[in-house]
């Protein structure tokens, strides 16, 4: 088994990227082809390498929450969660149960938004723009929930060392339950499309097949691995936050093709919705934070959480001061690249965009503009400058 097929001079090589039309984040791929069929693939990353691991070594433990949330614009909460759980391990404290429950709820909301975003992008790659529009429209429901709890759509910034910043009251609970009901109904529709629509099935069934053994060898994780029957889910294997008290069911599929990756992710959404309802129904009563010292005792910690794309790993080393000695991050996309390099071989070049999207590599969220109507001011289109001035006036 080769993870990286070496490009030979006599082969015809199709370079794709760095500005890949299918991926909104830059990556460079070289596919060697014989006619239409891909015979080898290699990858070059780092076009958005920002040196965050190095950056954490000159910031203190609290400042690092904010820089680490910015590793990813989609799963910002899960990065902060992995980090704060690691720091709490080092400091020997445990966040109160209510804080753990809130971390879990936000984590699952984030998974819903991430999977729905992916569903739209993947549908778009398959030339199915109607599904893309629908899933992104419906995704706004969960974005509104995230905004309602934290005031932010992207960097919710819910976590603190030793707890969380925001509480969930009855009003929010009602809004969440209503939103979840709507989402559940829509998911049923998506599931029907993904499994029965002829064009869609034609582009996904038996494409990019990865048998269980191969997925296991390549270290595939998250929905990509679970769609090949690899039973790895950190929420089940090593429960963190509130997953011990509110267990989650692992979703797997044996088919291992692109369609299975759709099915697994949609089924996971059902499971996320069930989990959020369960926690909201049995919300533990406690404080939201415990005190964490500014200087963290020397030692090493290892923290694993299940991000929307799979296992996210943080290794933390403290030297007893207020800044970390080393923070190592291993994101799930890095693991799954090796799967794609492998299963691309033998497929048509035209299948590459969908296969690349199939592992759900991390994309960035887009900007949006808001229309606010307040105090008789009614205007539908705002320029950036107007919006900025309005913001300054509003908070004065």
């Amino acid at each position: 088994m080769t993870v990286e097929a070496h490009t030979k001079t006599e082969k015809f090589i199709v370079p794709i990227g760095p500005q890949h039309p299918a991926l909104k984040e830059p990556g460079h791929f070289e596919f060697s082809v014989e006619g239409e069929i891909v015979t080898g693939a290699s990858i070059r990353l780092g076009f958005v390498h920002r040196g965050i691991e190095k950056g954490t070594e000159v910031r203190n433990w609290t400042q690092n929450i904010y820089i680490l949330e910015r590793v990813c614009g989609i799963c910002s909460h899960v990065h902060a969660t992995a980090y704060v759980l690691g720091v709490e391990q080092l400091a020997g404290v445990t966040a109160p149960p209510r804080a753990q429950a809130i971390r879990t709820i936000v984590g699952e909301l984030e998974r819903i938004h991430s999977h729905m975003l992916w569903l739209g992008v993947a549908a778009h790659e398959g030339g199915f723009d109607t599904l893309f529009m629908y899933s992104w429209r419906d995704r706004e429901t969960v974005m509104d929930m995230l905004e309602a709890i934290s005031g932010n759509r992207v960097h919710y910034s819910v976590n603190l060392l030793g707890g969380v910043k925001y509480d969930i009251d009855q009003k929010l609970t009602d809004q969440f339950l209503k939103g979840l009901e709507f989402l559940e109904e829509r998911l049923t529709h998506y599931m029907k499309v993904v499994t029965t629509d002829e064009t869609f099935v034609g582009r996904t069934k038996d494409i990019g097949k990865m048998p269980k053994d191969e997925a296991y060898m390549l270290g595939s994780i998250g929905p990509t691995g679970r769609a090949s029957g690899v039973e790895r889910d950190i929420r089940v294997d090593s429960p963190y936050a509130a997953y011990g008290e509110f267990p989650i069911k692992m979703v797997t599929d044996q088919a291992g093709d692109l369609q299975a990756r759709f099915i697994v992710r949609i089924k996971e959404l059902y499971e996320s919705i069930r989990e959020i309802r369960e926690i909201l129904g049995h919300m533990p009563e406690s404080e939201l934070t415990v005190k964490v010292p500014r200087r963290i005792p020397a030692g090493e910690a290892f923290s694993r959480v299940e991000a929307p794309r799979g296992e996210l790993v943080y290794f933390l080393k403290s030297n007893g001061t207020d800044t970390p000695e080393r923070i190592k991050i291993r994101t799930p996309s890095l693991c799954n690249w090796s799967s794609i390099i492998n299963y691309a071989v033998g497929h048509k070049l035209a299948d590459m965009p969908m296969l690349l999207a199939g592992i759900d590599p991390c994309f960035s969220c887009n900007d949006r503009s808001v229309t606010i109507t307040k105090g008789g001011v009614h205007q539908t289109n705002w320029t950036w400058e107007q919006l900025r001035q309005y913001g300054i006036e509003y908070y004065r």
Partner: protein, 167 residues
């Protein structure tokens, strides 16, 4: 308990090849290996299908500043191979000196390690013998040769003064 069973098993597997195996937390076990025994240890874990390679971490351990009149000690680096099975994390730790920063590639046993090894090469300047691809993965093409950003001695490039600014 299940966790203890998994820990006992990895302890039994690693004891024959590792000089020291210590349980550092309820779910973590650390094993000291040498450059010579690293591959044996990795092979034992893979053959027994104990877990999977989760990450490779590089650690820079420069010698502390010498006291007056003393010779500075030798700088070292440590490479950690984290394997996970269920809730348990087993870490193989190899320490290598700056003067001979060479480790063997584990890609022959764990093919997916290639991306992790490429990261080690460019971030820490460790030579990974026998790794299938040594091309740049993360750093820019024009990154200066011999500058390894994750070493402690690297604190950024001096900012070039912009013409017409300052005194």
């Amino acid at each position: 308990m299940e966790m203890e069973k998994i820990i006992d098993r990895v302890d039994d597997l690693l004891k024959p090849v590792c000089s020291q195996v210590t349980q550092v937390a309820s779910f973590r076990i650390d094993a000291e290996v040498t450059v010579e025994t690293l591959l044996d240890a990795v092979k034992i874990l893979t053959d027994a299908r104990w877990g999977y390679l989760t990450a490779i971490t590089g650690l820079d351990k420069p010698a502390p500043a010498p006291a007056e009149g003393e010779q500075p000690g030798e700088n070292h680096m440590e490479v950690l191979y984290h394997f996970c099975e269920g809730p348990v994390v087993a870490t193989l730790r190899v320490t290598i000196p700056y003067s001979h920063a060479v480790i063997p590639s584990i890609c022959g046993i764990v093919p997916m390690a290639t991306l992790y090894e490429r990261e080690l090469i460019e971030m820490f300047g460790i030579t990974v013998e026998g790794t299938p691809n040594t091309d740049k993965l993360l750093l820019p093409d024009d990154w200066p040769v011999g500058v390894f950003p994750m070493r402690k001695e690297f604190t950024g490039f001096a900012i070039k003064p912009v013409e017409g600014e300052g005194e």
